[in-house]
């Protein structure tokens, strides 16, 4: 709690706690909507009735109840976890690279996770737990590849070139994944919907294997928030204040890999959430990474769950994959950031 008050003490022009409560309220409303609306037959009125009569055996609507409890609720939970994980991962990656464009989906982190899972499924892996750790290892590999590439010739100092390196890695990994899918029909069937990113058809059980590593990631994030904030003042200043920039950076990369790998294992690669969410959080609360992280917590789920609702409604009775939708929302934001008066330095 002291951590909380410490961080909150930084909220000045706009009170962080007010923003946080407001956004959490919004998230609660959106979560309710996600239980009410769907692509299928159970409309909002019927779902609302079913929700109100949950404990009432007389007016029990078994179909509506099934749709809400077995289809929509798991999607909602996974959306909450995936949104928060991707939002935080984006904020961390942007802080550590001091690059507002550093998004796990653009930097090849998600592609690394997806490629690793594709490989794992090709070689017969099937359990959800295995999938999570494989995805996290893949994410770490993707992260390290692109950062190593960025270290060459000082790409790291140029936001756009880092993104280019990431785009090349992503492209390469996507091609390799596609190659594997062409070569192996079984893997293709298993993975086709997953690889575009979606919350549909996920079970609550898919979420359980995420918790240990996401817990570790959350703990590390809390520990890393202060040194990361100091790193925003520059490497030398951070050393002068007694921090270890190299250790901090390495740990942040591990946390990003855990978060993105976990989210990707649960919902497939979902691009642009890690770009849009921290972007909005900074716009609302200023550049301090601690405030950004706090706001990413409700903002990430808001973006993912609302995108998921929209994905069910645009082409009924079918659904648009979530990854497609976030790309539709995120791409204009990316263009906006790049075209902005100047790239905000972090």
């Amino acid at each position: 709690m002291r951590v909380l008050t410490h961080c909150l003490s930084f909220g000045k022009p706009r009170s962080l706690i007010g923003l946080w409560l407001g956004l959490s309220g919004l998230l609660a409303a959106i979560a309710l909507l996600s239980l009410l609306y769907g692509a299928g037959d159970v409309g909002p009125a019927r779902a609302w009735q079913a929700l109100q009569n949950l404990g009432d055996a007389a007016s029990y609507d078994s179909e509506a109840h099934f749709v809400i409890a077995e289809l929509r609720a798991p999607r909602l939970w996974i959306g909450l976890v995936v949104g928060a994980a991707l939002g935080i991962a984006g904020a961390l990656l942007q802080a550590v690279t001091r690059n507002p464009l550093a998004e796990p989906g653009l930097l090849g982190v998600s592609a690394g996770a997806a490629f690793a899972v594709t490989l794992a499924i090709l070689w017969g892996a099937d359990t959800a737990t295995l999938r999570v750790s494989v995805a996290q290892l893949g994410a770490l590999g993707g992260c390290l590849c692109v950062l190593a590439a960025a270290r060459l010739q000082g790409i790291g100092s140029d936001p756009i070139r880092l993104i280019l390196a990431g785009a090349i890695l992503s492209g390469l990994l996507h091609s390799l994944s596609s190659l594997i899918l062409l070569y192996d029909q079984h893997t293709a069937d298993e993975i086709r919907f997953w690889v575009v990113g979606s919350l549909a058809g996920r079970q609550l059980d898919d979420l359980v294997p995420l918790f240990p590593t996401l817990g570790v990631a959350a703990l590390l994030t809390i520990l890393l928030a202060r040194p990361l904030a100091a790193l925003a003042l520059g490497e030398h200043v951070a050393i002068g204040l007694g921090h270890h920039p190299r250790v901090v950076r390495l740990l942040v990369i591990v946390v990003v890999a855990l978060l993105v790998g976990g989210a990707t294992a649960a919902a497939g690669p979902i691009a642009f959430v890690g770009l849009v969410v921290p972007f909005a959080a900074r716009a609302l609360a200023g550049p301090d990474i601690r405030r950004t992280l706090w706001l990413c917590l409700p903002l990430g789920p808001i973006v993912v769950v609302s995108a998921d609702i929209v994905s069910r409604l645009v082409v009924p009775p079918s659904e648009l994959p979530l990854g497609v939708l976030t790309a539709l929302i995120g791409a204009p934001v990316l263009i906006g950031v790049v075209r902005g008066r100047r790239l905000p330095t972090l």
Partner: protein
């Protein structure tokens, strides 16, 4: 009895029990610094007087910023040691060192919208931990630092909305909040106009007067003479002169450092040495003529 006297002296000079309360002795022994394979400084022995303003001057590329990087542990020595209170700084955890030694790099950059108060609060980082985060004591020290730098009325302003001099004062306030006995500054007045330079130099002087040891790298020899108690002149990685500015600076030294001729007079107001009639040496003139 004769044995007691030096021991007493040593005790008063180095009360190790409370290192933060005393002015430290910073020194280097056989210090060698290099970037990659390029040796910049070799086998340097240096004493930095406690509680005074030391200015390190010299031409571009003479190694003065490298020396400061070595003193502040940003650059790992290739050989030799940097001693703070007689202890090798490499043997101290960086967070412990941050309680004794503050550091202000050249033209630091604050993130957009970061306020002065927020910046100064970062100075408390080495004193805080996960068990002890933000205390009333921290707040008091931050307020003091703001007060000392005259920034209390600007505390809620974004750093990037301040004037150059105010901005530099805000960074110095952060270093003050670190409550170290020693402060290292890399060109604290570069890119500042005259008024802002004076603003920063006077603050630095008042810090030394309050007991801090200040070591700064500066370009401007005239300001070094005016504001420093101790001058270290570097040329090609070597210290070629050091001491009181009034005794150290000579036309010969200026010629060796910068390749210019000058005349020296004593400033009638401050008593500091004053360079006048600065011009290129005859050698340089001949060189450019042919």
């Amino acid at each position: 009895m004769t044995h007691d006297a030096p021991a007493c002296e040593r005790d008063t000079a180095q009360p190790d029990t409370a290192p933060d309360m005393t002015a430290p002795d910073m020194a280097t022994q056989g210090l060698s610094l290099a970037y990659g394979s390029v040796a910049v400084i070799e086998d340097l022995d240096l004493q930095l007087p406690a509680g005074q303003v030391t200015a390190i001057v010299g031409p571009n590329g003479c190694g003065k910023s490298t020396l400061l990087a070595g003193l502040s542990r940003l650059l790992k020595p290739r050989g030799g040691t940097v001693l703070l209170n007689g202890t090798d700084i490499r043997h101290q955890p960086t967070r412990q060192l941050a309680k004794r030694l503050a550091l202000l790099p050249q033209q630091p950059h604050a993130p957009e919208a970061l306020t002065v108060a927020e910046l100064v609060r970062f100075g408390r980082h080495p004193h805080q931990s996960w068990l002890r985060q933000w205390s009333p004591e921290d707040k008091r020290i931050v307020d003091e630092a703001l007060d000392m730098t005259g920034l209390t009325p600007l505390a809620q302003r974004p750093v990037d909305a301040l004037s150059g001099g105010q901005r530099q004062r805000a960074w110095i306030a952060m270093a003050i909040a670190q409550q170290t006995a020693t402060l290292l500054l890399d060109e604290p007045t570069s890119a500042l106009d005259l008024g802002h330079q004076v603003e920063v130099y006077e603050l630095i002087q008042s810090l030394a007067a309050s007991g801090k040891t200040i070591v700064m790298v500066i370009h401007d020899l005239v300001s070094a003479c005016r504001y420093a108690d101790h001058l270290i002149a570097m040329h090609q990685g070597h210290v070629i002169a050091e001491g009181l500015p009034g005794e150290t600076v000579t036309p010969e030294l200026v010629r060796r450092l910068y390749g210019v001729e000058c005349s020296l007079i004593t400033d009638p107001v401050t008593g500091a040495p004053l360079l006048t009639n600065i011009r290129r040496t005859r050698d340089a003139l001949d060189g450019s003529a042919t």
